[in-house]
Amino acid sequence: MKAMVYRGPYKVRVEEKDVPAIEHPNDAIIRVTLAAICGSDLHLYHGMMPDTRVGHTFGHEFIGVVEQVGSSVQNLKPGDRVMVPFNVYCGSCYFCARGLYSNCHNVNPNATAVGGIYGYSHTCGGYDGGQAEFVRVPFADVGPSLIPDWMDDEDALLCTDALATGYFGAQLGDIVEGDTVVVFGAGPVGLFAAKSAWFMGAGRVIVIDHLEYRLEKAREFAHAETFNFAEHKDIVVEMKKATGYLGADVVIDAVGAEADGNFIQHVTSAKLKLQGGSPVALNWAIDSVRKGGTVSVMGAYGPMFSAVKFGDALNKGLTLNMNQCPAKRQWPRLFEHIKNGHLKPNDIVTHRIPLEHIAEGYHIFSAKLDNVIKPLIVPSAG
């Protein structure tokens, strides 16, 4: 089969690989019909995530058709059209039993601080991902769901991570009616978080980025007020001014490890890999939220330390909520929102790239060419 493989920082190519095999009785093999590149894949692509090996296939956002199932699989059969949450999880450990699917303890030998994620380095379990023609899906009775008949492939795909994570981010903000919600980052997760904040009764939603075309999308898709931080000397002061010097009730960090805006922070982390992530956005979040407010962290950070302004968080009495999203937990409610027309997830899709051209896809997304927001990957055999 054809699969994207990592060759080293900033280098990927398509190679011929063996079709994955059933390795556990509850495995399924899925023929991928649609995949995506995620902002967090860029951390791998840039070589920032420890234990990212040459030959590894990325891709934690994919949907497909069941090709083969293991002997203990009860809920799926070949031919089923399924969506697969980006989390690999067992459904039965201490954490899964409590709904913490992204923190599963039974699927990642390489680390206890993070669960299993498809195509996200050995630090996340060493599972090959879905930017390929076929993928192995462990715990087929737990993770995948049948795609509802009425749902678009692209919408289903976006539920596997970006939409679920954005919506989860708004939930972790614990928004109450009339709250002012600031979202750092107008990428897919930020756009969905901003949109979801309204569902939870936000009185005001402000989105911050430096890419003008993404801010335009935030105004149009997420009905948000926007600020371009590159046009302001100090975005924290702008947020204070915009909120009557109170600060926002809730701030969502939808940027994560490669935040821009501080040259030193960015270069020491994204370029020189000396930090687990550039906490520029997180520090802005901590300083922009009001005292007693809530910061919800959705951006991905690596396992190394980051220079976070912890004193401010303490002295302001903040609540910091964060986790990788347990994607499937969000699905029933998200399906209702999509069905009721509260949002159309694939409004944010900008590029549909054949698997053969995935190297260009990574470059476009990484260098933010061509007004890219969300690039999808289409395997030819799909």
């Binding site: 900033y10 190519r13 899964c96 990642n108 379990g125 060493g126 009339g178 509260h342």
Partner: protein, 195 residues
């Protein structure tokens, strides 16, 4: 406001927002938010029909964090350990917990050894690493490389570092190789020079 007990007023009332924004307030009731609070004990909700999963067979050595009591029942099988990078990774896993910076720095170092080794090995194959096709740099021509960078973008201020980081090691390597070759040639010339 702020300096008094009142909250700064909002521009739009809830009724206005409900009228103007699709889906406004549909999840106002926390009961409609499926993942907050995050922890909810509901072991029957997952579809798992086992107390502890059957164990996947490990083919050969499978590294694991020393913060795990044993090898978890299910694991990924992409890119098993091999060569020098494999030895470094094995050491990082065997010796240091996830709490130690050394663990992660060794793994990052192994990543660089791995990709450098793979690159060198590829030169001896029918499909050597191709810096043009594998970096996707052609997209600069087909997807508005120049015009995309117009405007107030802060990432363009450091994008110049990317080619330096990617090409830099090869330029340095080539320079060292050329210098070494010259020195050898000169030494030989001197050795054969009768003067």
């Amino acid at each position: 406001m702020t300096y008094t007990a009142r909250k700064p007023p909002l521009a739009r009332s809830s009724d206005q927002l409900r009228a103007q924004i699709p889906g406004w307030g549909v999840d106002l009731d926390p009961a409609d938010r499926p993942a907050f609070p995050q922890e909810r004990y509901d072991p029957d909700a997952t579809g798992a029909h086992w107390d502890f999963p059957e164990r996947q067979t490990a083919h050969g050595f499978r590294e694991r964090s020393i913060e795990h009591e044993f090898l978890p029942p299910v694991f990924g099988t992409s890119a098993p350990l091999h060569g020098v990078s494999g030895a470094v990774r094995r050491f990082a896993y065997a010796r240091f917990s996830e709490a130690r910076a050394a663990h992660w720095l060794l793994l990052l170092g192994a990543d660089r050894i791995d990709s450098t080794g793979a690159h060198l090995r590829s030169l001896a194959t029918l499909r050597p690493d191709n810096p043009i096709s594998e970096t996707g740099i052609r997209a600069e021509l087909t997807h508005h490389g120049l015009s995309s960078r117009r405007g107030n973008r802060v990432d363009t201020r450091h994008q110049w570092i990317d080619p330096v980081l990617v090409a830099g090691p090869w330029v340095v390597g080539a320079t060292i190789a050329v210098k070494a070759a010259r020195r050898i040639a000169r030494t030989k010339a001197r050795a054969t020079d009768p003067a």
